[in-house]
């Protein structure tokens, strides 16, 4: 594609879009598809045809609109009105109300209040096009600005300029650790070697996290564009997107997007007539959480067991096939195009002093509004839970919020007012993580939660290093014993010691962070542990002093 072709293609598609009076956007991401949003789209198409509205109304499948818990969602024109919990039976009435800007009054119960804090308090940077564009149609994406940033980078900026922009923006890795992205890019750019690679880490495996899935399904071209800009900046010509095989729809959308981009010569050789070549391929994971760790991911792409190796050397110097390799998370790449388009200063103005920009979170659990939110860094957890999330369901009380999945911690009510940024979360024993947020109410037992996450880490430990392989098993064993009422107060001391050991001596991030859920619940919810231990002790005593024919059996081996 020549540089001038992009603008003309965009204009052409915008004219096509504008010629159509109404656009009905039906969410076609995994969540809504599983509640039959594909049937809704089919029904709309059928009705449009039978009513002879083909000229005026276009039905498009779009990406996530955020409020996944109320899906399927249907959006009219550029966002208003928006209907929730739609079924195929509602389609006719929605069509009837197309010309009214407030929607069909008969469907008032389905109208989504766009002025509620859930929408009002979000700031969409990465997800700005999600829910607007048709992710399966590259022309529609181009009409909404896709690949403009790539064009600007290739024709106006040098690789050093790009890295400077990213550094100035203050962007930090969205995979969880928060490493400064500009610094990582400049390290790879400086590394020598005949070839370099750019890898997109889409092995999102944290329980309770689905931001990356949504970005890959809802706006795949933005990920591709971000990778291409990164490749230009660091001097790579080959990209790999590593996606979990559990995300079939994301794989399908990405594959389609890559094929379309190749046909439009937005991937391939001599992009926009420059000397820059870039190709991307998709690699599927095969059900191993540890492959989200960068060195394990590289081992997996090379065709080996996905086990991590000690660093240094870091992948930036010696990664895939020993070549310098840039690995970033899906969300990080998806943030690049907006930064280039709007400027580093614009991005740096959002967020806090050390954590810039916005972050997507998957809000789930005991809250009214579940789904995806993109908020500026620095917002408080209280605002997220009680304002955006609408609080815990009636009749229950808030107990904890878990961030960062199995690597993060449980945050109690007292800490809800801390600003949401990398450092503040680390200070209270949790992590930003990839963005899972699970709200728990008073019915959740924190020992059970800790045990759940430890069981996950135990089964996902690759087994290469001893502290993680054996340590997670022992911690799980202790937690299980306490949960079942067979624990003793000394167990808590042992548990803490064991956690500190696993944290300090494990080889990779999986083991180093696995104890976090236990340590944070021990610190914030020790009463849950003590109550279980005390209850177990009381039960045993009662059984021993009670009549022998009560039928209660007492496990006596328990305090070993």
């Amino acid at each position: 594609m020549k540089p001038e072709d992009l603008a003309s293609l965009a204009d052409k598609q915008r004219a096509i879009n504008a010629a159509c009076k109404h656009r009905i956007g039906v969410c076609t991401e995994s969540g809504c598809v599983s509640s039959q949003s594909d049937q809704i789209a089919a029904k709309f198409n059928e009705l449009v045809k039978s009513r002879g509205l083909q000229k005026d109304v276009r039905v498009v499948g779009v990406g996530c609109m955020g409020l996944c818990g109320n899906g399927p969602m249907v959006k009219i024109d550029d966002g208003a009105p928006m209907y929730q919990n739609v079924t195929p039976e509602h389609c006719a009435a929605i069509l009837d109300g197309l010309d009214s800007p407030l929607g069909n009054p008969q469907l008032r119960h389905l109208l989504c209040d766009l002025n509620q804090p859930f929408f009002r308090r979000q700031k969409l940077v990465v997800r700005s096009n999600s829910g607007l564009i048709d992710p399966e149609d590259i022309n529609d994406c181009i009409a909404h600005g896709a690949y403009e940033s790539l064009l600007k980078v290739l024709t106006e900026l040098s690789p050093t300029d790009v890295i400077n922009q990213i550094t100035l923006s203050g962007l930090r890795g969205r995979g969880g650790a928060g490493f400064p992205t500009g610094l990582k890019w400049s390290t790879v750019a400086k590394a020598g070697g005949p070839s370099k690679f750019v890898i997109c880490n889409g092995d999102e495996g944290d329980p309770g996290a689905f931001m990356d899935r949504s970005v890959m399904e809802g706006d795949p071209h933005r990920v591709i564009e971000g990778m291409a800009i990164a490749a230009y900046a660091v001097g790579a010509d080959h990209g790999v997107i590593y996606v979990r095989a559990e995300y079939p729809l994301a794989v399908k959308r990405l594959t389609r997007a890559i094929n379309q981009a190749m046909r439009h010569e937005l991937l391939g050789n001599s992009l926009f007539g420059t000397r820059f070549n870039f190709n991307i391929e998709i690699r599927l994971g095969a059900g191993a959480f540890v492959c989200g760790e960068e060195t394990a991911l590289i081992a997996s792409v090379e065709g080996n067991r996905g086990v991590p190796r000690p660093r240094p050397p870091y992948p930036a110097n010696s990664g895939l096939y020993g070549c310098p390799t840039l690995i970033n998370n899906v969300e990080t790449y998806a943030t690049i195009a907006p930064i280039i388009r709007e400027g580093a200063a614009w991005f740096a103005a959002i967020g806090t002093a050390k954590s810039k920009g916005t972050k997507i979170f998957a809000l789930t659990g005991a809250v009214q509004n579940t789904g995806l939110i993109e908020v500026p860094m620095g917002i408080s957890l209280r605002d997220i839970v009680f304002d955006l999330g609408g609080g815990v369901p009636a009749g229950r009380t808030f107990k904890a919020i878990q961030t960062g999945g199995p690597s993060g911690g449980c945050i109690c009510g007292q800490n809800l007012d801390i600003p949401l940024d990398y450092e503040s979360l680390a200070a209270i024993g949790s992590i930003m993580g990839s963005g899972g947020m699970i709200v728990m109410d008073d019915t959740s037992n924190m020992v059970d939660v800790a045990r759940f996450f430890m069981e996950f880490c135990m089964s996902e430990s690759c087994g290469k290093c001893v502290p993680c392989r054996v340590g997670t098993w022992q911690i799980h064993h202790l937690l299980d014993r306490i949960y079942k009422g067979h624990g003793a107060p000394e167990d808590l001391v042992l548990l803490k010691e064991l956690c500190e050991m696993v944290k300090a001596t494990s080889l990779c991030g999986l083991g180093q962070s696995a104890p976090n859920p236990v340590l944070s619940t021990l610190r914030n919810f020790e009463s849950d542990y003590l109550a279980l231990i005390e209850k177990g002790r009381a039960d045993r005593e009662a059984a021993l002093s009670g009549p022998h024919d009560s039928g209660t059996t007492v496990p006596l081996e328990v305090i070993s």
Partner: protein, 185 residues
Amino acid sequence: MAWLVEDRLKPYRAKRAEAYLTPEIKKLVSEKYFPRYPTKHAALLPLFHIIMHEYGYIAEQAIDEAADFLEITRAQVQDAVSFYEEFRLTPSGEYVVNVCRSIACELCGHKDIIEKIRTVFGIDPGETTADNKITLFEVECLGACEQAPCALINEDLHGCLKADDFAVRLQQLPAAASNGHGHRH
């Protein structure tokens, strides 16, 4: 007691005459994947994804054939293949039901789903029904927590499951012949 030593030289299983790595598969991998990587070894995961898709599991013979094809040792193939949960070394039924056991699903009753399948179909996770129709697995997060509890039936996601309804849906799955996207040709 003497050690029981398995004779590794004897044919260790029923060998089928027809190769698992058909000429078509070999051609696909040779043309699509080999040129991209410095080693043939790197095409291991894509190759086994193809084999999984084609046969629904990985036969031991396929591991042997893959070792020859990728020019690495059988141990190297076994090492990698046995590591990944999605590569199954035993045959699955026509429908693979992957029930999510992640935290959100756990909180929303994933155990009821497993329990229901156990009573209705008589299978535990990892097992296949006698009629070879359904194989049940528990998997890690499917990334559909807002629809918890959820499960994949082959590649289709089903969310907001209720144990009774889901069991009925499984019972109503069409038989093998009309199953559009099953494996095993």
